[in-house]
Amino acid sequence: MTGISKRFGPVQALRNVSLTVRAGAVHALVGENGAGKSTLMKILAGVYQPDTGTVEIHGHPMTFANPADAIGAGVSMIYQELDLAEHLTVAENIFLGAEPTGWLPFTVSHKQMLTRARELAGRFRFDIDPTAKVEDLPTGDCQIVEILKALRHKASILVMDEPTSSLSEREAKRLFEVVRRLRGEGLSIIYISHRLEEIIHLADEVSILRDGELVHSSPMASLDIPKIVHHMVGRELTDFFPQRDVNVGEVLLQVTDLSSGAGIRDIGFEVRRGEIVGMAGLVGAGRTEVARAIFGVDRKTTGRVALAGRELSIDSPAQAIASGIALLTEDRKRTGLCLELPCSWNITLPNLRQIGFTPLIKPARETKIAAGVGSRIAVKWSSPQAPASSLSGGNQQKLLIARWLLANSEFMIFDEPTRGIDVGAKAEVYALLNKLAEQGKAILFISSELPELFGIADRILVMRRGKLVGNLVTKETTPETVMHLAAVEER
């Protein structure tokens, strides 16, 4: 891939990226969330078309209009969320769309399909039953099915996006074996992972992306974990982050021994008034799950949550909001906004009781209240009655922030508040978080971007695999330390 650039609206996702992958090699692609890894791979797989740049395979220039073109050219991608037909068997999945035909027209020869599936699995020494239904298989085996599917397409390049994120340790080890075997067969494997210790053991070459640019590419032998981490995070922190008078008061939120069915265990921390506590961790480390457990979305299995010394029993978001807790969720489309409803309705939705709209809503006053709180953070809308869907991403996010400003909660959780919004809007969000802290709110700020955590958090909590593994004072630590805690398994 040479000189690849790609822009989505105002966001430059990739800038002049060139990547060379040798046959018979495992090539690791690393970078922080949003560095452009997925975009680059989706261009290779034909999902996106690059604005500039070329893709060559075995020296032949290629243009992929869609994923089918890429698969035809020998590029198969295995996504983090596997796309298998759950109710079909392993063999049926492998031959989906290319079933061997039977004697009669429009029929499928199941016998031949099974034989060929067994042949394929045997050739690569995969131990899998082709007659098993995919829904009955453990995740590790599903990945094998995906790989077999790719091999059936005669893939020469296999892209694996975070393949171990949902695997047990044993399954992961087996997958590494499989990857090495495929390399032995002459395939190129592009391996995306946040788990650096995996990469150290598996990769022959490493390319590191940061902010849409390729910052480093070299054989694994010349790198180690600290060097990789340095390349990943090594950007300059500018005065993008406003200064704040830190005036930390008494403990407001206290979480003790918190566990939930969603996989977090024994989480304990506190947040004081006037404090912004950041939470770092890789995707799937359980950060959002901590927020969900506190906010009453997920059921707590153990643990206590206390606000201003008073223990709370919260079983639903309604109770959390009534107790003075707010959660700005990470996915504004799925769990945040009612898109076709007016902006003003979205702002007042959790606040009807608080602004005296029970038992009756007063529409004129509602518009005025929404306009007031909207103007405090400069939401750009044609009118408060316009549907939320008519706003840009950054303004939709502001709409949700306006909702929680109106709620005036004492403790506020912001889960990835700057995801998918442009730089200007990001700066406004940082300024707002600072202002809220100055007013004596306690804030938990979940983010995948270390620079912003270091820019505005007073302390940083680090999550890894459902556990709290670090509670660091920002001034006394480094991005490298945080990344190391988040990404590297202790021996």
Binding site: V297, S316, A320, R334, C338, W345, L349, P350, L360, I361
Partner: protein, 318 residues
């Protein structure tokens, strides 16, 4: 096309329809008698459609309303006639009316509870209760009806020249309008239908609100059942067969979306009246009921198709 224009389209169709019918049949159509006749016939469907509007806005559906109406009528008939043994007395008629409406409320509560507590799709739950309610209606009096010859107040009498059922219809419309527009329950109904997860994360008690919506629908069905019983002076186990489809059609023609989050009381009334006037007009013109079915079918499809096109255009121009 904006929201206002979307509302305007069925309304304009209705006005055009009335104008055309007035021109074609000036003597029969545009009379107070005929107007009250149409409104009176619309009252049963219209009252139930008010509940259905809320249900559809919430992203649900209630297929059981037709059977529920039969069941409510039968419960009332049972009480009024002491299971078919006497001609109702005034006291028993009051008691029976309350029992019929109460039965509707209970049926609605049952629907709502099954949907939320078993976490089942409303389509499935109400498909099931549709069948069950009908079965109970038949069993109650061994497939026979209850005659209530003197139960005429709700369906056949007038106050100051206006039929009583039209008055009740107007009150229910006002109540539904108020409920959806000015109460948190109404607001939450829109939010749940638009994005249930988001509503939950914003502190909306989704289950409780959904149960309330289905219960209110049941209550309206109970009331409509009493009007229907009074109009025919009998409670029939076969009442309201396929009624749910007419009502869903009226709500959809009125601009509600079956995927939830959209719909208005005003739209539903226009949809209901459009169907009623069409039936009435085509009958006055001497066109058979079989043809009427085809015309109404075409209108349902046309209304939703136009709506979709307008939406696609709105998205493009954004």
């Amino acid at each position: 096309m904006n929201k206002f224009a979307r509302q305007l389209l069925p309304f304009a169709t209705l006005v055009l329809l009335i104008a055309a019918l007035s021109a074609l049949e000036p003597d029969a159509f545009l009379t107070a008698d005929n107007t009250f006749n149409v409104l009176s016939r619309s009252s049963v469907n219209g009252i139930i459609a008010m509940g259905m509007t809320a249900v559809i806005i919430s992203g649900g559906i209630d297929l059981s309303v037709g059977s529920m109406m039969a069941l409510c009528g039968m419960v009332a008939g049972l009480v009024m006639t002491k299971n078919g043994t006497i001609v109702p007395t005034a006291g028993l008629m009051w008691l029976g009316t309350l029992a019929g409406i109460g039965a509707g409320l209970l049926c609605g509560l049952l629907n709502g509870t099954l949907i939320t507590k078993l976490n089942l799709p409303p389509f499935i739950v109400t498909l099931g209760t549709m069948s069950a309610f009908r079965g109970i209606s038949y069993i109650m009096h061994h497939s026979a009806m209850y005659d209530v010859p003197n139960y005429t107040f709700l369906g056949q009498s007038s106050l100051a020249g206006v039929p009583v059922n039209v008055l009740i219809f107007a009150i229910i419309v006002a109540a539904a309008f108020f409920l959806l527009r000015y109460t948190p329950l109404g607001r939450y109904t829109y939010a749940i239908g638009s994005n249930r997860e988001a509503a939950f994360h914003a502190g909306v008690n989704v289950d409780r609100n959904l149960i309330a919506i289905y219960a209110i629908t049941g209550l309206f069905v109970g009331l409509a059942a009493m009007i229907a019983t009074s109009r025919t002076v009998s409670a029939q186990p076969t009442a309201g067969i396929s009624l749910e489809l007419d009502i869903i059609a009226a709500v959809v023609i009125g601009g509600a979306s079956l995927s939830g989050g959209r719909g208005t009381v005003v739209g539903t009334i226009i949809g209901t009246l459009l169907i009623s006037y069409l039936r009435n007009g085509l009958t006055l013109l001497g066109i058979s009921t079989n043809i009427q079915l085809i015309v109404i079918g075409a209108i349902i499809i046309a209304a939703v198709a136009l709506d979709q096109m307008a939406r696609a255009k709105a998205v493009e121009s954004r």
